[in-house]
Symmetry: C3
Subunit: 348 residues, 3 copies
């Protein structure tokens, strides 16, 4: 299908790319991810031009990946660097597509569009993943059998927490929240907060003060195509955000294909940052909730939508908390339209 191509997407968690290469379908393309012996990341088409073996089944030799079937080797730039057979010459047509990558904030990013425009400065900022003095992050990954925009919808409308996540629901219900929608150029911010409520949610796990009530906030910031930063926290009533429990998160969604996506997430905390057990505990809880509640629902939605990825074409009913996701969908659709148009102009 048609995706926004001139953008950074996440291909993998940094921790996923060790000694063994990794196969991953990204934007309808099968790719092989590997880490060279000096630590650089390669991302090339996962199909040897000789007999179409997946290179992700191969092994890394120095700066190259070697095909597991007949031994051709390829560099990070996709060029065939070694042919062990016959006179060793590299035949024409042996090179493979390769994509620019960046490793930052614990994620491997790639740029599926024009490589000349792959500016690392455009990677969304996740400073809390790069500030070990103040924050300790944990990471997770889910493979979701649904269109990536359904995951974005899920995250931009957190009213679902009251229904889908009984563990985090408020006794006051959905109406206890204050909300604000801010759109700044191409950025959509969906703010949601509850002043002076009973301590609840993830923040409760790190709450140590004797206060029984706090100011809670859950602000989601979306950037096209599908990168979200989530400012989750709770403070003493009336205090400033930074002085309370801060659980800043990244939710980064990458389409695998029309009906499947990769959901990468990180959750940092400014409490118990040296306590690895606390980190593992919150990682496990978060991953389980995403898998058994969010992903399960999104996959059921997709099954119910059948072979349709554009939910809007099915004329869904609109409710008040849908506004942020609708804005994000419109902004993304317009950016894709402009990119396609520019491509057609360039092709003339």
């Amino acid at each position: 299908m048609t995706y926004l191509r001139n953008a950074w997407y996440v291909a993998a968690l940094s921790s996923e790319i060790g000694e063994k290469p990794l196969a991953r379908r990204l934007l309808d393309q099968d790719m092989a991810l590997f880490r060279t012996q000096d630590g650089a990341i390669g991302l090339i088409a996962d199909r040897c031009p000789h007999r179409f073996a997946p290179l992700s089944m191969g092994v890394v030799r120095g700066a190259e990946i070697e095909c597991a079937y007949h031994g051709l080797r390829f560099g990070r730039d996709g060029r065939c660097a070694h042919n062990p057979h016959g006179d060793g010459r590299i035949p024409r047509g042996a090179d493979l597509p390769a994509w620019p990558t960046q490793e930052r904030y614990g994620f491997v990013w790639f740029w599926p569009g024009d490589p000349a425009r792959a500016d690392a400065g455009l990677i969304p900022e996740l400073p809390f993943n790069d500030d070990p003095a103040r924050f300790a992050p944990v990471y997770g990954y889910l493979d979701v059998a649904g269109n990536y925009q359904l995951v974005v919808d899920n995250l931009l409308d957190l009213s679902h927490v009251e229904y889908l996540h009984p563990m985090f629901a408020q006794p006051e219900g959905v109406s206890a929240h204050k909300t604000q929608l801010i759109v700044e150029d191409d950025v959509v911010i969906s703010k949601r907060w509850k002043p002076n409520v009973a301590i609840q949610g993830l923040a409760r796990l790190f709450w140590t003060s004797p206060s029984q009530r706090f100011d809670a906030r859950a602000h989601m910031t979306w950037r096209a195509p599908s990168a979200m930063v989530f400012d989750l926290g709770g403070t003493e009533c009336g205090a400033t955000d930074e002085d309370g429990v801060c659980l800043p998160q990244a939710h980064l969604i990458t389409p695998a294909s029309e009906f499947r996506c990769h959901y990468f997430w990180s959750l940092a905390r400014n409490r118990q940052i040296d306590d690895a057990q606390a980190g593992e505990r919150i990682r496990t809880v978060t991953q389980r909730v995403f898998e058994t509640e969010d992903a399960r629902m999104i996959e059921a939605q997709q099954r119910n939508m059948g072979a349709v990825s554009d939910m809007m074409s099915l004329r869904p009913l609109s409710l008040e908390p849908d506004a942020p996701a609708m804005r994000a969908r419109r902004i993304l659709a317009e950016k894709i339209r402009l990119e396609q148009e520019a491509g057609r102009v360039a092709a003339q």
Copy 2:
């Protein structure tokens, strides 16, 4: 595909609908079944109009079912009864299709055609499931990966028992049976009996007299589209049916889709009616035979027929015991044809 619509079909066993809603595909439509807090049964489309979540994943709140994703609530009539968001108004287009239901004889029946014609008096009579002084029924359900008419064929030609069910086969073989085909209006009765044979079959489990031989009968009565009542029993040679072992059964088949169906059954007994263990024993044996012998064969037939549901279009060979099923297929095809024709006339 095209089904007879103005008819009662079974949607579920009564015992399947407890506190949790149930998802079931019926006549090519995904439906949610639920029981309200006062015990009534609701059957509505299993797709919330807001974000297409399956309502069957939700929870019952009083007389309504609440969507598990964002909390819309719907009544048994399919109308959206509650919107927890914003000003709480119910948007237009929020109502869902709903179907008439009846709970009777241990089954939940529904009427997929014109609701005005859903006369409860048309539900097939199964008095033995409603007569606890004389009969104790047990119930079962199978999901069969084959067209529903293959199951009807199976039940209307019991000569297969001699080959498919070695446990119930007669030493005398298939030729020991007497058979009679009766067609009364739209009812097909396939009678099959064996006077004065060795005690065998299910009836043997309840035979207590010292006699070594009995008169056995196995009479199947079909009504369109796919409801069968089975009069199975054995009596002292020459005695009247009611005085012997009576195991009257219902076999009620509901299409899920072209290549899948639901097989609901009940088996009542007039012996050991207070012995729950005896009931559980016969339920287990019957369910196992249906699953490992009948359903296994029907699914193999369907696989061998490929993407064809109308077996007759493959020009099968006809043998003598096919006559009852062939009559039933012709009667049903004609009723569907007339219903379609009436629909076209009404639409003009």
Copy 3:
């Protein structure tokens, strides 16, 4: 798809056909294999003409197979031989397609083309499977989810051993081998040998002499469509082949359908021929290598090729060791073309 039809293919290992019939898809046709009570092999269409039940679910009665659903019986020639119903007459149109079979060398062969041309003398010779005084064979079978020609490619280019089978790789690498390609009429011989190398590979398991080095050979002989004889062995340096360890093998590939094939193999040894444990050991090792290394790679290739069975249409890169497989592909394509043309002429 289009196959060479006037040829012997393997339908099964002899040991697979015991008392129970066997279902197998061969050249896009579902077939039932059975052994009559006097030991002859029947191969008929696996679809009863009555209600399309698979005959492979049935039982053998004397010289016939009986349908498990309603008891029709069929002979090895496909003719319906018994109808237990009604007056017992066999209706017209009750006969089934049947194919000529031969049991030889531990395999069941069948001829999918013109039965008049099914000359048993055309079965590839595997004398080592029929010479118990000198050789002890073991047998194996794999179901491979890939086009059959990918398996032929694999076997005609053994340079893959250095990469795909680390257990059998040479320290000297792929360049240590000498190779020769011989094409005699329709036979392709891919010779591959290494004089005076360290003892390695399967032959090592049977090497008992104190010599530390040997002459190794691995010669593959292909006959259309997909029958290969593999002369694998190792001898004292300079000695004649017969005096060393000989592990002659058959690799016989039969298409199931466009994207699936059956891989039958045998491996005979001229050492420890009375040692059943040694035989079981080498059978287990070989089967495991084929499954976890060769079949796994071939299935990955096929997935990477998508819904394409003709690898050449994807313009693969050619390397030096591809020559034998390319010759075999061309010879087979030409034979299929001629057969199709002759069919068209005959049909005029």
